[in-house]
């Protein structure tokens, strides 16, 4: 099943207001340090990076590591400057790539 992502961005905000953005994505975040019951190493399968662009400009980016739990929940703040689109981008092992968008109206 495809990865599912949940984005929580306020639909409207006052110009200059600090807004909270919450993102949650489904991912096993397999560390690569575990072994199966047959003794085989379970290969690493994690999300390696996440970024957010606000009308094309990168406002937040982070690198993820094996110690991060499954289904990473990333939340951050930004200043509502203008109406437009927030684009979210996750990249991971085995060609994992998800993009999501959210609209915001700034008054």
């Amino acid at each position: 099943m495809a990865a599912r992502a949940l984005i929580n961005v306020p639909k409207t905000a006052k110009r200059g207001a600090v807004i909270e953005i919450k993102t949650l994505i489904s991912h096993v975040m397999e560390t690569g340090y575990r072994h199966s019951t047959e003794g085989q190493a379970v290969p690493r399968d994690i999300i390696t990076s996440f970024s957010c662009r606000y009308n094309g400009e990168e406002i937040f980016a982070t690198t993820l590591y094996p110690a991060i739990a499954a289904n990473p929940f990333v939340t951050f703040h930004t200043v509502a400057t203008e109406s437009g689109t927030l684009a979210f981008h996750w990249i991971g092992d085995n060609g994992f790539e998800v993009t999501e968008e959210a609209k915001i109206v700034v008054e």
Partner: protein
């Protein structure tokens, strides 16, 4: 060797016997107190939610922060997706889950006339799959079965738990109560020892909760995934070093039924988050 040696001192000998007697009387008194303590008064029951940190509560309260929502979304896709030789989806018979499944999982485990015994919500979904959709039953704790129980369970959120307590279910509630209060495993503990007699204390630094099943299937941070009540029961059984039953065993269903009866009237939080 040493244990078999008779005590050397005469005075000590007699005192030793008295000590054993006092200890035995104290132990019997303790066991009786334990029996008397059984059953939490209805107005003193607490959801495991009350013991959680503010951060974990916030995670459960906000659907966009609750990782179980990811499974609910999977479940909604499965609900409307066609499956099996009949090519039918859940939605083809039941329509909108928000309407048809409202309050359903608050009533489960429920008595199945066909099986002549109670069945839990996982078994009910699998019955639909094998009999209506002609699809293979989903494995316990599989991603799809958890997702479907989550989407069905979510429709009872905020409603009171109300399993049937009638002539048909009573013997099974009683069987569940028996296994709840039976000491078992290498640690010789019963469920009751922790969850009725010592709730509110701590076990290995973790708050000991009353153990009400009001949020299943739930996202457990320790599991990093959604899990069923049977998985949680298995967890407790292993903790007291007892042999867990196989998934889907009648003993689990009886226990689930008893626990739901014990939590009657409490609010369903499905899909909940627990630490």
């Amino acid at each position: 060797m040493y244990g078999r040696c008779p005590p050397k001192r005469n005075a000590g000998h007699k005192a030793g016997h008295d000590g054993v007697l006092v200890a035995a009387v104290a132990l019997i008194a303790f066991l009786h107190t334990n029996l008397a303590l059984a059953e939490i008064p209805l107005d003193q029951r607490r959801s495991g939610y009350d013991n959680m940190s503010a951060a974990t509560k916030a995670m459960q309260d906000d659907d966009t922060a609750n990782p179980a929502t990811l499974s609910v979304l999977d479940g909604e896709a499965l609900w409307s997706g066609k499956a099996g030789n009949e090519g039918k989806a859940c939605a083809d018979c039941h329509g909108d889950a928000a309407v048809s499944m409202r309050g359903v999982s608050a009533r489960y485990p429920a008595f199945s006339p066909a099986k002549n015994q109670p069945i839990d919500i996982e078994q009910r979904i699998n019955l639909c799959r094998t009999e209506q959709q002609k699809a293979p039953a989903l494995a316990h704790e599989s991603r799809d079965l958890l997702a479907l129980t989550a989407v069905v369970g979510k429709q009872s959120r905020g409603m009171p738990i109300a399993v049937a307590e009638d002539e048909k279910t009573k013997p099974f509630i009683e069987a569940g109560r028996q296994s709840y209060s039976r000491r078992q495993g290498q640690l010789n503990l019963s469920c009751q020892n922790c969850h009725d007699d010592n709730w509110g204390q701590k076990l290995a630094g973790v708050p000991l909760v009353q153990g009400h099943p009001n949020g299943y299937p739930l996202y457990r941070l320790e599991w990093q995934s959604l899990g069923s009540l049977q998985r949680r029961l298995r967890n407790c059984l292993i903790g007291m070093r007892a042999e867990p039953y196989a998934y889907g065993a009648d003993e689990y269903v009886d226990l689930e039924l008893f626990l739901m009866w014990r939590a009657r009237g409490m609010t369903v939080e499905t899909p909940a988050v627990r630490p």
